[in-house]
């Protein structure tokens, strides 16, 4: 499972506060914690007005790179900001994100097509100018559009993380059926592609959110999810990921599961 550590995001009040005060130690600490918890990428989102965003991301990325070699998921709703901020990264990371909206694909894909950026990956949301399509068929239409563009620019499916867009369960009419249908279809069509989700979105406005998050994660992984934007320092969540991979037959002799236990990543804190 690819884990995109979500803890450095300006939409979290404590992080916003640290950014405002330019408290580098706070950012570094969160980067370190997530690296130690086996994150694959460290997500970095400023969540500040766009005029300050590039400069803020620069500072944040520098902080993260001071304490870990992990690749960074450069997170901004603005494609223009991404085209600036990715340059601050020491190594190829993840553009977070593009979608079928506006000219995002035509802004980011050409950068990814450049030889020197051949190891950069991207998260692609299945939304477009109409917003988040209601039904699975419409989201898959956005998916087709994204993949057509990717092919035009020569971006391999293995560099793309499709985000089927997780919305809150409490107002959903069909539970997660739409998400599951999208995940299964995408997985079927492109075995090499990554499918990601901002897992905790599912549980907004519900009590005991972790139960919902965990149930969602297992069901989504069963459908083909292999990447997630989540908190790797949440030991229950991380343990569940290892357990689910073993149950899905993706962990030869359960050695990854046992290894995570041996490394103290999962199970009771010793």
């Amino acid at each position: 499972m690819i884990i995109i550590g979500e803890k450095i995001n300006g939409s979290i009040p404590a992080v916003a506060d640290a950014i405002a005060r330019r408290d580098g130690e706070f950012i570094k600490n969160r980067a370190r914690m997530q690296a130690e918890a086996n994150a694959t990428f460290i997500d970095c989102c400023a969540s500040v007005p766009e005029v300050e965003e590039v400069e803020t991301l620069h500072w944040m990325i520098d902080c993260i790179q001071e304490v870990t070699d992990l690749p960074i998921s450069v997170d901004s709703p603005s494609a223009a900001v991404l085209t600036e901020a990715y340059r601050f990264c020491n190594k190829p990371g993840l553009f977070n994100s593009v979608s079928g909206e506006g000219s995002k694909l035509d802004t980011i894909f050409p950068i990814m097509a450049q030889a020197e950026n051949k190891d950069w990956q991207v998260i692609a949301l299945l939304s477009d100018d109409t917003g988040i399509p209601k039904c699975a068929a419409d989201r898959l239409r956005v998916f087709d559009k994204i993949m057509k563009k990717a092919e035009e620019y020569g971006i391999a499916p293995s560099r793309i993380h499709i985000d089927p867009l997780v919305e809150m369960l409490c107002t959903s009419e069909d539970g997660i059926a739409t998400n599951i249908e999208v995940i299964q279809t995408v997985r079927e069509r492109y075995p090499e592609i990554h499918i990601t989700a901002a897992v905790s979105n599912i549980s907004f406005n519900l009590p005991v959110r972790k139960l919902i998050n965990q149930g969602f994660l297992v069901l989504a992984m069963n459908a083909g999810l292999d990447s997630g934007i989540l908190d790797p320092t949440n030991r229950d969540m991380l343990g569940l990921i290892y357990a689910t991979e073993a149950l899905l037959g993706m962990d030869d002799y359960c050695m990854e599961y046992i290894g995570a236990y041996r490394d103290g990543l999962i199970g009771p804190v010793k």
Binding site: Y253, C254, M255, I258
Partner: protein, 210 residues
Amino acid sequence: MSKLAEVVDLVERGKSKLVGAAVQGALDEGTPATEILNGMIDAMAVVGERFKNNEIFVPEMLVAARAMKKGVEVLKPHLASGSTATNGKVIIGTVAGDLHDIGKNLVSMMIESAGFEVTDLGVDVAPEKFVEAVKADPEVKIVCLSALLTTTMPAMKTTVEALSAQDFRGSIKIMVGGAPITQAFADEIGADAYTADAASAAQKAKELAA
């Protein structure tokens, strides 16, 4: 770390993808093939001990045995006899009427890793089959019988009796095991040894063959 020490370490950690190259490296350094084999056997003894002490889980023992197998493949052509069975030959099977084989396979693997050549007769093996198998190969030193069900314990008794009625009885040892089996039951039916787990079985086999 010498290449031999590396082989030992890789077997203990179950790194089957790396162990072959390390064995080749040890051979290239001039380490005698038998010494490498014994190093791996000792590594498996350490793994078995850890398992017995509840320090590792079953899969960790399995991957160690698998790693050893990979190492042995590379080593085989370099051993004088072409055989890795330095300790002798063993016949193993689950007794008649019993289809369980997970425990039996584990024991088979561990005994093989202890330097024996193992012939696995499979599950639901009739007493005559065990007898024939021993007759067919006078080099057999040990026969291992497995039973998981209380209902197939009598079949284990029958099998021991069938083996004991043969002239070769004095030249073989009979080991028994399985969830419902106890030392008392083993004594009662005339088996030579009982062990509680795969690691102990491998260790016991070495003692019996010595």
